[in-house]
């Protein structure tokens, strides 16, 4: 049971960075960023290439920078070029497929078995190495840093402006703030988290393939909605913690399901079903009284 929990915790923490990215773009900015899959892979491939070149720490920064650039282009398309926000994400996703293979040198798979990664670097520290805590510690550290940063960021004036943009863009304009600017900043920040998440996942499993990010947006959305269902507070700190918790719970359920012989390829179906239920649940609930009345009438 312990190794099971541990895997769930490690994977949950790493993917919670993408969940935090969606918390910013989806919950705060009200933009469904469909470039998430591509950006996740972008972070993974850039991180892998830089790590293979011998810079495991710089690989994190490089991945995040790549995420910022990707986020900037997605946001630029939807705020300045008149491309619908969903379409902008889909287009970016498609474009990133080519970009990612190009970054990996024309191959769709990179191996890091003999590469120094951030995880292998700290393995030499006695206690960490002995108990194989390296993945857990790095992932935990990254999540804490990102969550604290996000909390502070959302309290800053720029953070308030981003929240207001998702809430009422008219009000943002009348506060002399350009909503295009806040959307661009918001997506740059959120995509840097997504890319970091991809970079860490690739290094923890010591390989990248071009499909590493496929379905990430649905998985992260499912985690986000699960977290929101468990933590119903409106307090920002609780909601951020809820997003991380959701990622962990999602991975936990998934790992347990694998134990009960659910085939691994079912992950994406399960996450899609969760997202459907979480989004349409409240809608169906609000329609229920009308439905019940109709049923009542038919019975009479």
């Amino acid at each position: 049971m312990i190794p099971l929990l541990r895997t769930a915790l490690e994977l949950g923490l790493i993917s919670s960075l993408t969940v935090l990215a969606l918390f910013l773009s989806y919950s705060m900015l009200n933009v469904c960023d469909l470039s998430t899959d591509g950006c996740f892979t972008l972070g993974a491939s850039v991180g892998a290439v830089v790590a293979i070149a011998g810079h495991p720490y710089a690989s994190l920064a490089a991945a995040m920078l790549a995420g910022v650039i990707s986020g900037f282009i997605t946001a630029f398309l939807q705020t300045k070029m008149g491309v619908d926000s969903l379409l902008a994400g889909i287009i970016m996703n498609t474009a990133l497929y080519s970009v990612n293979i190009a970054i990996m040198g024309g191959s769709s798979l990179l191996n890091m078995n003999k590469t120094d990664t951030v995880f292998s670097k700290i393995q030499s520290i006695p206690v960490i190495g002995a108990f194989e805590l390296n993945k857990l510690i790095i992932a935990l550290l990254a999540v804490i840093l990102v969550a604290v940063f996000l909390y502070v960021f959302l309290r800053m004036k720029i953070g308030l402006a981003i929240r207001a943009t998702g809430n009422n863009p008219d009000m943002v304009r009348s506060s002399s703030i350009n909503p295009a600017m806040t959307t661009i900043v918001g997506l740059c920040v959120s995509n840097s988290f997504t890319a970091l998440s991809g970079c860490l996942l690739a290094q923890s499993q010591k390989s990248v393939n071009i499909d590493i990010g496929s379905g990430m947006v649905t998985i992260a959305l499912a985690s986000l909605l699960i977290g929101g269902a468990f933590i119903r507070s409106t307090k920002m700190s609780h909601r951020i913690a809820g997003a991380v918790l959701g990622a962990f719970l999602f991975r936990l359920v998934y790992t347990v399901a694998l134990r009960f012989n659910m085939p691994a390829y079912m992950l994406k179906l399960v996450s899609s079903v969760i997202v459907i239920f979480a989004i349409s649940g409240p809608y169906l609930k609000s329609r229920y009284p009308e439905f019940a009345r109709r049923l009542e009438k038919r019975r009479c």
Partner: protein
């Protein structure tokens, strides 16, 4: 001083739905003016406000504010000097954010990376207390929980927290119940006179259009057909106004809300 010269705006040009909402309109608003604007449905009152606030660019003409050409300045930049309230009380605030956060954004003090300080919080709280609605004790509750009147009062405070050069009021009390509407009107008068704001107000209440402020404009077909102030205005009654409208526009005033409220408040 706000100066509009020869402003024209046509919607859907070249289609069957073509509508000239503003037609070669000229208007000069002096500092300290409080102008009431009345007119039929579709006379171009709100379009005039949209043109001033920059919601769209006018097709031709020139808009100057304090001798500076703002014709092509985008809406969010104009918002620094032009405050605006809509009829819909939900339009001016972000519902999921707290009263404090809404005000902090409107106040806009500090850099992009600044966090609201304790002093700033207490200043905002004091300002909210001036509204006399008990909102100062609910600074952290989401604005979405407030009533329409409370939200409109808050929007008024947000629009004037940095006194604007021009305040545009687009029937901002029309969607409120009568008692709240009176209260928000009183608040508006208080804030406008305390800050000596220059103000343009669209209203459907003919009586208050004659009593409130120092000038009355009447609009029809995208132009100003009546522009009165001073002695000429002080002796007028609502019936005079209706007669003037009929003689100038060649037809009876048709604004459902005006007709319904002609003898009322």
């Amino acid at each position: 001083m706000l100066k509009l010269s020869d402003i024209t705006k046509t919607f859907n040009p070249g289609t069957v739905n073509e509508k000239t909402a503003l037609s070669h309109l000229n208007l000069t608003v002096n500092d300290g003016d409080f102008i009431s604007i009345i007119g039929s449905n579709g006379a171009g009152k709100s379009t005039l406000f949209n043109a001033i606030a920059g919601s769209f660019m006018v097709d031709s003409g020139r808009i100057e504010l304090d001798e500076k050409d703002i014709t092509f300045m985008p809406e969010h930049e104009r918002a620094r000097t032009i405050g605006r309230l809509f009829q819909d009380p939900l339009k001016g605030t972000a519902p999921d954010m707290s009263i404090e956060e809404n005000l902090a954004l409107a106040a806009g003090s500090g850099g992009w990376l600044s966090v609201l300080s304790k002093t700033e919080r207490s200043v905002l709280r004091e300002k909210v207390a001036l509204l006399n609605m008990g909102l100062e004790d609910r600074m952290n509750s989401p604005v979405g929980l407030l009533s329409g009147g409370q939200r409109q009062a808050l929007t008024l405070l947000m629009a004037t927290i940095n006194p604007p050069k021009i305040l545009l009021l687009d029937e901002h009390t029309a969607a409120l119940d009568p008692a709240t509407s009176v209260k928000v009107n009183e608040l508006t008068d208080k804030i406008v006179s305390e800050n000596k704001l220059t103000c343009l107000m669209i209203t459907h209440n003919m009586q208050s259009a004659l009593v409130t402020g120092n000038r009355t404009l009447m609009m029809e077909d995208g132009n100003i057909i009546l522009n009165i102030s001073g002695d000429e205005r002080s002796g007028l009654t609502v019936d005079d106004l209706l007669t003037m409208f009929r003689t100038r526009s060649g037809r009876a005033l048709d604004n459902d809300r005006i007709l319904l409220s002609k003898n009322g408040i």
